[in-house]
Symmetry: C2
DNA sequence: CTCATATATTTAACATAGCAAATATTGCAC
DNA sequence: GTGCAATATTTGCTATGTTAAATATATGAG
């Protein structure tokens, strides 16, 4: 007698082996391994690194913009900037014109951390490009961008 | 005089706009939006859903295997299974032969949740396929799989 | 000017991620 | 069978993710 109350092997939903959300996590996990290792040396986390990177790339900016660019929710951004303040890696002050807005900027100490890790970061990026291949990486980025249309 | 101590705009590291880790998060965020919405109805989280899905797909299994398949760290798995136990959606018991191992299984109540959300989940998957395209999705999964070689 | 409403950020509360240390069992050497 | 190294899970701690509620400031209607 066949028990059809419980489908045997993923015939109902796509198998978790070909699940987009899971595949995205798995890939990300692999990419972040070396990056976390690089950052653990200087005692900052992946998200703290993203904040510094964005501030370095775009310059001083308000909290919402920073969160958007660093791909963080506002509450996370607030807390992370607070710890970066304590570490002296960023500054934060209310906007003169609109006092609701907070302007965040990187400090020389923050910039120094980026400079210190620059070679390591480039090496990691190069390794990824070597393993995956330049064209596939470009394809990947393009496809991932399409998800914003969802 | 040019200030070359602080590179102006991402000339040193790849721009955060073309950063693989960030692109992976952004895409995942978009994919998870509708899924979280679907799950919030029945009061379970994304990770709890992954655990249930894996248990349903592969049947009863030990904690390590479950964590690996659901793409969770063991400590996370432990805690999530604990809350699922309290909800009565899974069972957990020590293996007879090796009492270090814990065998986790889905309950009828857990299976019922999956069955309830089946149509919604399939609709979400279909929508993604419609927007991104079947071939691109396949390409994406293949490229993401390559990251395991890192 | 005053109040209701909209905007920008922060807090609060709960669930997870990630890492290190602690537990519990096994299996094996002596 | 005792003790030690290896294996399987769980706990403890700090940092984030996520959502909802609280704060603070700005703006426009009347």
């Amino acid at each position: 007698m066949i028990d059809d109350t419980k489908p045997a092997g993923g015939s109902v939903l796509p198998s978790t082996r070909r699940s987009i959300p899971i595949a995205l996590i798995r890939a990300r996990e692999k990419v972040m391994g070396p990056i976390r290792e690089m950052l653990s040396d200087c005692g900052i986390t992946e998200q703290q690194w993203r904040i510094l990177r964005v501030l370095e790339e775009y310059g001083p900016q308000d909290a919402s913009t920073l969160a958007e660019r660093a791909c963080l929710l506002l509450p996370s951004q607030t807390r992370i900037v607070q710890t970066l303040l304590e570490k002296g890696l960023v500054t934060r002050q209310a906007d003169e014109k609109d006092r609701r807005k907070q302007t965040v900027a990187i400090t020389p100490a923050g910039q120094a951390i980026i400079n210190d890790k620059l070679q390591d970061a480039k090496a990691i990026a190069a390794r990824i490009e070597e393993v995956i291949g330049k064209e596939k990486l470009a394809q990947l980025l393009d496809i991932l961008e399409d998800f914003q249309k969802l």
